[in-house]
């Protein structure tokens, strides 16, 4: 297999040749710079901010002045910029390369989104400002809501949920509210496939439901007949991810919805994988009652190392009356914010408020910017390219890795592989760490739980064919090394800022905050 390195350039690794054994005075290796903690390099007297003259007056703090040292180190501005710049260079990121984390939709984050979110008219407005002074912000929410409703074919959208799991909670609370309104308090079980994201069962439990498993068919979908057999007067509904976490479209989705509805339950769809179908399929046409949309996946708002996200929830006509507060309503040419005060008149069925203020406005401006940039035609192309890219990887790998569902047809936006066939002692983790040395972020590993040693690869539409070809070359090479029992892969990564980290030690003896080292004399 070609290394797809057309320029002929070869990276010089820190271990290349004799120099691999050299150590440096600093411990650094050229551009690989280690960085101490702010607590080790800063001091409580140093500050990187000038305030001018600080006024004085007798305090009115009720005698609660904080006299003891807080212990917060400060750095000057250049030291601060350097500290965080050095840290940043120890991170992999979409801006650096392919980030094929399955189910996470790591696509390009356009910088126009960032610029628009920082316009003072959006960034510098208070959530409780009189509504007449924030009409443009309410209009952004209204426009984004219109797009989300139209793209999903649903009746309404709750904009305030803060992230995907918060959106799941919103949908599940709407289902509970609808059932309660019908006197169906005894429906306390949600059916969730084993392949579901962990947030699904956790959300169900957080909202007071118990969870039962839905069996899967051999080709990786929900077993419709088994599901039908379990439906009954104790079932509140189902939580189904579509496309599912194996990267497959639930062919029977409409039949599932019809059966659940006929049995008096509701259908929650986890929309984490909406990117695969945006602009091509409307979940509303499949009988879905509620679905969250991760703006930080499909609609390109940045992940930021673990948030913030944003998880608006589209709702069917059956659940729309229970949507949370607040929401934006247009009356004439003016936008209103419907909160607790006016809910009684318009929206008496609401289950209440899920968060302070008005949702993730900073994410709304970014998502709307992205949507307007792509338009209806571009979003459809997004879905098609993301599915094309995933299938290209799938079909380029099936001779070296087991792809458990490949024989049943194409995948959607992500390709799934298992670690079956690897020699004893080598598994998915080793392939993942091997890919790090090749300059890639690994795929999602050991998820979903239904595939042995799962490797879930989601390239997204962001990647060019050349990038995919190089990745496929690297992936094949690493998989082949694993299959051949190459011992160096067991100890990968070799070239990352850190070797494999001891996670057991971290959990057994948790060190969760910095403590000043005890002086040797004092300890004795």
């Amino acid at each position: 297999m070609s290394t797809i390195n057309q320029s002929g350039w070869r990276p010089t690794t820190p271990e290349a040749g004799e120099a691999g054994n050299l150590s440096t005075f600093t411990g650094n290796r050229a551009l690989m710079l280690d960085e101490a903690l702010i607590f080790e390099i800063g001091s409580s007297q140093t500050t990187g901010v000038d305030f001018g003259e600080v006024p004085a007056a007798p305090s009115r703090l009720g005698g609660l002045e904080r006299n003891a040292e807080i212990g917060l180190p400060g750095l000057s501005e250049p030291e601060t910029v350097r500290h965080y710049t050095r840290l940043s260079r120890q991170n992999y990121a979409i801006d650096l390369g392919l980030f094929p984390l399955g189910s996470c939709t790591m696509k390009h984050n356009p910088r126009l989104n960032e610029r628009m979110a920082r316009l003072p008219g959006f960034a510098d407005i208070h959530p409780l400002a009189p509504v007449d002074t924030v009409q443009g912000a309410l209009e952004v929410i209204d426009q984004l809501a219109h797009w989300l409703i139209t793209l999903t074919g649903m009746q309404a959208v709750a904009m305030s949920p803060k992230a995907g799991a918060h959106g799941e909670l919103c949908g599940i609370l709407a289902i509970r509210s609808a059932l309660d309104a019908q006197g169906q308090q005894d429906r306390k079980i949600l059916l969730v496939p084993t392949s579901a994201h962990g947030t699904n069962p956790a959300t169900a439990a957080f909202a007071g439901f118990s969870v039962e498993d839905i069996p899967a068919t051999e080709d990786g979908r929900v077993d419709l007949e088994a599901l039908k057999a379990r439906l009954g007067p104790d079932i509140a509904g189902v939580m189904i991810t579509n496309p599912n976490t194996c990267g497959l479209f639930e062919r029977d989705m409409k039949a599932i919805s019809d059966a659940v509805h006929a049995a008096g339950g509701y259908v929650y769809c986890d929309g984490a994988n909406f990117n695969a179908i945006v602009g091509r399929v409307r979940p509303g046409d499949l009988g879905v009652d509620a679905m969250h949309i991760n703006l930080h996946k499909t609609f390109s708002t940045p992940h930021g190392g673990g948030g913030p996200g944003s998880g608006p929830v589209v709702l069917s006509a059956a659940l729309a009356p229970y949507a949370p507060l607040p929401f934006v309503e247009k009356q004439g040419d003016k936008f209103h914010l419907v909160e607790e005060e006016t809910a009684g008149e318009h929206h008496a069925g609401t289950f209440g408020r899920m968060t302070a203020f008005n949702g993730q406005m900073g994410m709304f401006t970014r998502a709307l910017t992205y949507i307007l940039s792509h338009g209806a035609d571009g979003l459809r192309q997004v879905a098609e390219d993301s599915v094309l890219n995933a299938n290209y990887i799938l079909r380029s790998m099936t001779d070296v890795l087991e792809a458990p569902f490949a024989k049943y047809g194409p995948c959607m936006h992500e390709a799934i592989f298992s670690d079956r066939g690897l020699p004893e002692g080598l598994s998915t983790i080793d392939i993942a760490k091997g890919l790090i040395d090749e300059g890639y972020h690994p795929m999602t590993v050991y998820f979903p739980l239904v595939v042995h040693g799962a490797m879930l690869v989601e390239p997204t539409e962001t990647e060019s064919k050349a990038t995919l070809d190089q990745f496929i070359g690297a992936f094949r090479s690493v998989a082949a090394r694993a299959k051949n029992g190459d011992p160096t892969i067991k100890t990968a990564p070799h070239f990352a800022p850190r070797r494999r980290l001891d996670e057991t030690l971290a959990a057994r003896k948790p060190v969760l905050a910095w403590k000043a080292p005890v002086q040797a004399e004092a300890a004795e």
């Binding site: 903690l37 500050t47 305030f51 305090s59 703090l61 009720g62 005698g63 609660l64 212990g71 501005e77 601060t80 910029v81 965080y84 940043s88 991170n91 990121a93 801006d95 628009m116 979110a117 316009l119 003072p120 407005i125 959530p127 409780l128 009189p130 924030v134 443009g136 992230a163 799941e168 609370l173 962990g198 956790a202 439990a205 957080f206 602009g279 409307r282 499949l286 930021g304 673990g306 948030g307 949370p324 408020r353 900073g362 910017t369 307007l372 792509h374 338009g375 209806a376 979003l379 459809r380 192309q381 047809g409 539409e461 064919k465 990564p493 070797r499 996670e503 948790p510 969760l512 910095w514």
Partner: protein, 452 residues
């Protein structure tokens, strides 16, 4: 389309490798009845960067930015000056476009920053440990109530009348579904918070008392007695901080015996943004850590013995424990946590204390000046950078009228507590380092005119 690198020949070549004749072949699993023929009707097609920028800029111009007016709003969201380098750092692609650090060998930047953030927050709040962030203060507050339930195995939480009404609303929403019992109250326009009332209500069924510090009206009360009373009944004290800058001036809740301290970190580094994204703070004592929600970063070593950081104690979390997890939270607010952490690093202890002093003294001067206006009375004898005035008229129409004049005067209690007649004349006024003497004068004379 500028975000899509595949060319038409690329697409055809790739379909060839796959063995598909067209893209439709890859969507065969979608029932024909659910496939749309072309772009969804009624929506515009793709647009240039310039066209989109024009559209968004027009919308932004319809809002009155806080920086363009005399501005006095607080009540859980505060306008502070954010140093330029904060925004520069959070826009570095390696932070902005990284994922949750599941592969620690190539995510030490985010992980070390999380560890530093946790350490800073623990110190600021006066607790042993803090997590790597929640969505915001209101959801962190509900998580603290559920954590107190798990720790004490009791289901009754007593919420102070001084707790932000949106935080109360969130808890009420959730409690309807979980069966938790909540005892709530409205605030009163009195000089002191409801500490004694809270103490009187603690019983053997109480899981926790939830108190905001400084409270919604700006008042500051010693939490020590409340902590003692809660602990005497084996209940927990949950303290909520919505203005962390205050902790550069007043004692930390953890120092006064709070078991769980949660908060809203927005005021350091994050900006107003119409309410989100913000950053929830969550801290507690070491012995409660295994009941905590959310991500935790911990120190460890790598295979060569070098110090490094990993996500840890994951057996509390949804991706491992599923329905038995301490919370369903997954994505939190790490980039906002980074902004807050960078701002705290720039300030350092000395800078934070200076910033707090400027805020407090500015607020004292503003309060005294506004109290001179006929028809204005200062309700709160203690406060940090936010105080409550009682006007001779209903405050909500006054705020609207002043907004028409381009003055953002504060948050009326009528907006926060619609229908509560006793509170209708209350106005919460926040003063920060961004407020000028001139702003205060403008507000004072406008108030004088409106109240005359």
């Amino acid at each position: 389309m500028r975000y899509l690198p595949l060319t038409q020949p690329d697409r055809e070549a790739m379909l060839g490798v796959i063995g598909a004749s067209s893209i439709d072949d890859l969507f065969v699993d979608v029932p024909a009845s659910a496939v749309l023929d072309g772009p969804i009707a009624g929506l515009p097609m793709h647009a240039s960067e310039l066209a989109v920028e024009r559209h968004m800029t027009k919308l932004a111009a319809k809002n009155l930015a806080a920086g363009a007016a005399p501005f006095f709003l607080g009540a859980g969201a505060y306008r502070h000056h954010v140093p330029a380098s904060v925004d520069h750092i959070i826009q570095r692609g390696e932070f902005l476009t990284a994922y949750t650090p599941y592969q620690p060998e190539i995510a030490q930047g985010t992980l070390q920053m999380m560890f530093e953030f946790q350490s800073q927050i623990a110190r600021l709040l006066g607790c042993d440990v803090a997590n790597a962030s929640m969505y915001d203060g209101s959801t962190a507050c509900w998580e603290a109530i559920t954590m107190a339930r798990r720790v004490t195995k009791r289901g009754k939480a007593i919420l102070s009348g001084g707790l932000h009404p949106h935080y109360v609303s969130v808890a009420e929403t959730m409690a309807k579904f979980t069966g938790d019992q909540l005892v709530t109250a409205l605030p009163t326009l009195s000089p002191t918070p409801d500490t004694d009332d809270l103490i009187a209500q603690i019983d053997d069924d109480t899981s926790c008392v939830v108190v905001q510090y400084p409270d919604i009206l700006g008042r500051i009360a010693d939490l020590s007695k409340l902590a003692e009373a809660a602990h005497a009944r084996k209940a927990l004290l949950v303290a909520v901080v919505t203005e962390p800058v205050a902790l550069g001036a007043i004692k930390a809740p953890g120092e006064m015996g709070a078991d769980i301290v949660v908060g809203e970190g927005q005021s350091l580094g994050v900006g107003l943004q119409f309410g989100g994204p913000y950053v929830g703070l969550f801290a507690c004592s070491e012995k409660l850590v295994r009941q905590m929600p959310g991500r935790l970063c911990g120190e460890t070593v790598d295979a060569e013995g070098k110090r490094g950081y990993v996500l840890t104690l994951s057996t509390r979390e949804q991706h491992i424990r599923r329905e038995k997890a301490t919370s369903n939270i997954c994505t939190s607010s790490v980039l906002c946590a980074l902004a807050m952490s960078v701002h705290m690093t720039l300030l350092g202890e000395a800078g934070l204390r200076q910033l707090a002093t400027i805020n407090h003294v500015g607020a004292i001067r503003a309060a005294d000046r506004l109290a001179q206006v006929p028809g204005v009375e200062l309700v709160t004898p203690t406060f940090f950078n936010e105080f409550t005035l009682k006007l001779s008229k209903e405050a909500r129409p006054v705020v609207r009228k002043l907004a028409d004049q381009g003055i953002l005067a504060g948050v009326s209690l009528g907006r926060l507590y619609p229908g509560a007649g006793d509170l209708a004349n209350g106005l919460i006024v926040a003063v920060t380092e961004t407020t000028t003497q001139e702003d205060v004068e403008t507000l004072a004379s406008a108030l004088q005119e409106v109240l005359a």
